[in-house]
């Protein structure tokens, strides 16, 4: 009874509010009162750890920036406040599809931000396409991006493909072999799940072409916490390079156990998690020399400023791989809207062809993909410096061999 009454009064209230709003004289006739921005992302479940690091804080930061500015700017200079619609997909692919459908159909969001993870971005790509929304897929690593762009012309891919990362690593290693720093033997392990499988499949041909000799190639199940046997085997293999395509829990465990077992390969390359700020903070000096995917240009001032603001708003520093790119993609969206307005078709075209000033510097897409990326990063002087591609502006020199723990 009580709840019914409450619901009733809420409806009345909402109705009154709507009437009051309608009665107000419109400030800008063409524009809606509010721009609805929606997203569905994993706030709980297996993907929550990754989403809470790379995606959600950057959405929060961007929205708080917009609030401070008074909203999204239109081509005529009017600023329209943003209304946020947020769903938790509970790390379920069905749920994320349902939520995006709801955002597009029921909520009539003006723009939808993408979910976290390669699989989830692929799951919602057909929906974004069908409803005509641009999809700025950042936390998705896929070699098939060129195909996807053909299939879904309004999809944008920001993080490269597995081959980009493994080719860059293979080139870097081959150079070090040539310089006589390391031997050509590589011990490689990977987690038996999406990321690990993709990367190791790309790594095998990359390493072979570069003339590297993979002496150990093993997979381990998700959730493995004890790597003692694996590390002992890698130690015995005589390889100077140890590569692990691991998820954060595995990355942290490998780092700790490598120290305990005094496992000191000359190149230590680990997967997701090395770029998380607590990783560097916990390890301190010991992090120096560890390599992974991603990285930043330590001299880039706008990136530095972004990191500080991220910390102010979220109480944590961003990770050193996908975070800054997530934020840059949002800046591109904001700027594209400022240039062409709320027409999603025009915004997509602008994203595809325009050049934007973002935290990454001058940014533009090639064939709907961001190609100017750091594929190998190395902890140097307390930050994860981008070391490959070595010819990219702002690249740091790889410092090898890594010093023993």
């Amino acid at each position: 009874m009580f709840t019914t009454f409450r619901r009733l009064s809420l409806t009345v209230l909402a109705g009154t509010a709507a009437l009051a709003l309608a009665a107000l004289p419109g400030s800008a006739q063409d524009h809606p009162d509010k721009i609805k921005i929606g997203y569905a992302v994993s706030k709980t479940g297996a993907n929550a750890g990754g989403a809470a690091m790379t995606t959600i804080p950057n959405y929060k930061l961007w929205l708080s920036d917009l609030e401070a500015k008074g909203g999204l700017e239109m081509p005529d200079g009017t600023k329209i406040p943003v209304e946020l619609i947020e769903y938790d997909d509970r790390s379920s692919a069905e749920e994320v599809v349902r939520a995006v459908e709801r955002l597009a159909g029921q909520d009539e969001a003006h723009f939808i931000l993408p979910p976290w993870g390669t699989g989830f971005n692929l799951a919602v790509a057909p929906l974004f396409d069908r409803y005509g929304y641009p999809q700025l897929a950042v936390s998705a690593v896929t070699d098939k991006a060129p195909d996807f762009v053909k299939r879904w012309p309004k999809s944008f891919w920001f993080l490269g493909g597995g081959h980009d990362y493994t080719n860059a690593l293979a080139t870097l290693l081959a150079d070090q072999v040539k310089a006589g720093v390391i031997n050509p033997k590589v011990a490689m392990i990977s987690v038996a799940d999406g990321f690990g499988i993709d990367l190791v499949t790309a790594a095998r041909p990359s390493f072979k072409e570069a003339g590297l000799d993979v002496v150990m190639d093993q997979t381990y199940p998700v959730g493995t916490q004890d790597f003692t046997t694996i590390l002992n085997e890698a130690k015995a293999s005589g390889a100077d390079t140890f590569v692990a395509f691991s998820y954060p829990p595995g990355t942290f465990a490998l780092t700790q156990q490598a120290q305990v077992n005094s496992f000191n390969p000359k190149v230590l390359y680990l997967g997701v998690g090395v770029g998380f700020p607590p990783y560097g903070a916990n390890l301190g000096e010991k992090a120096e020399g560890i390599m992974t995917l991603g990285g930043i240009d330590p001299a880039n001032e706008s990136n530095k400023a972004y990191r500080e603001r991220h910390n102010e708003v979220n109480g944590q520093y961003p990770d050193l791989w996908g975070s800054v790119i997530t934020y840059a993609s949002l800046q591109m969206l904001e700027e594209a809207i400022k240039r062409v307005g709320l027409d999603r078709e025009a915004v997509s075209k602008e994203l595809s062809t325009g050049t934007f000033e973002t935290v990454l510097g001058e940014t533009s897409l090639e064939d709907n993909q961001l190609r100017d990326l750091w594929f190998v990063g190395q902890w140097q002087n307390g930050t994860l410096a981008g070391v490959a591609p070595a010819d990219r502006k702002g690249a740091s020199d790889a410092k090898l061999p890594k010093q023993p723990w």
């Binding site: 706030k43 929550a48 046997t229 002992n232 829990p249 077992n261 998690g273």
Partner: protein
């Protein structure tokens, strides 16, 4: 890698499994509550340890002195307010089992939700005692060795309590037959509450130790519940030494398979041995045959 190395690495890994499973076996065996929120209680303790160790001049080992009694109190309250009403109204064991599974399934989400609000969904970890210790020429991490030592200590201590004291005998009587236990003047409700609280205290000890070397998230509890459940069923429900042995066996099997076969097959090995034990002794390695 030599056989000794494999064995010691296996025992150290198994120590964690055993420590985690013993609490569940107490809860399921004596209090008759199939606690699906068990893993989340472990995670809660891990977060508590994380908070405690960050305080000045504290470390997780001293933290045990706070977190474990805290776990006991929490477990006691959960039993008295949430589970005791179910026990009182359940006409038979099967009903209680279903009711307790549903209730603790709900509790799982409550705990998870609170942790998500308090700590967010990030990966959490800190470093403590990550130093090598050499045993018979094998290097193991000190923090993992602590897990093994604690598992053995708690296992034997609680075993002694249950078999050598009058109070323990009463608990075992409740485990065997709650109805008959009442006839000889045992307060079954209190005994069950204490057993449940002790189980939670063990979960808290496990969570604290695990937090020293493992990365955890607010939503990661279910993994621990699963692993603990396997160990408990393998060891025989309600049997502490069974859980201890089964945990250690599981650790050795995983390490052996990882060393001599393939690290990718450790999970398969876990479930194979689980299946074999169930086919060969459905009541578990140390369980009593139930008629």
């Amino acid at each position: 890698m030599t056989l000794t190395t494999t064995l010691i690495a296996g025992l150290v890994l198994g120590g964690t499994y055993a420590l985690v499973a013993m609490g569940l076996t107490l809860q399921y065996g004596i209090a008759r509550i199939m606690n699906l929120a068990y893993g989340d209680m472990i995670i809660t303790a891990a977060f508590a340890a994380f908070v405690v160790q960050a305080l000045p001049s504290m470390n997780p080992l001293i933290g045990l002195a706070i977190v474990v009694p805290g776990g006991f109190v929490f477990g006691y309250l959960v039993y008295v307010f949430l589970l005791s009403p179910l026990v009182k109204r359940a006409p038979d064991k099967a009903t209680l089992e279903v009711d307790s599974i549903l209730t603790t399934f709900g509790l799982l989400f409550v705990i998870q939700g609170v942790l998500l609000v308090l700590f967010g969904s990030n990966y959490t970890s800190y470093t403590f005692l990550n130093v090598p210790v050499s045993i018979f020429g094998t290097t193991v991490a000190a923090n993992r060795l602590i897990a093994l030592v604690l598992a053995l200590t708690f296992g034997l201590l609680f075993y002694a309590l249950l078999t050598r004291t009058r109070w323990g005998t009463a608990l075992r009587a409740v485990a065997v037959s709650p109805q008959s236990a009442q006839l000889v003047g045992i307060n079954t409700d209190r005994a069950a509450a204490v057993a449940f609280a002790m189980g939670t205290a063990l979960a808290a000890a496990g969570g604290t130790v695990i937090s020293m070397y493992q990365t955890f998230t607010a939503t990661g509890g279910v993994v621990f519940t699963m692993k603990a459940l396997i160990v408990v069923i393998m060891g025989g429900v309600g049997n502490l030494l069974g859980a201890l042995t089964a945990g250690l066996v599981l650790g050795i099997v995983e390490t052996t398979v990882s060393t001599y076969v393939d690290p990718g097959l450790t999970l398969a090995a876990t479930y194979t041995i689980f299946l074999v034990v169930l086919l060969w002794r459905p009541e578990g390695l140390f369980g009593r045959r139930v008629r």
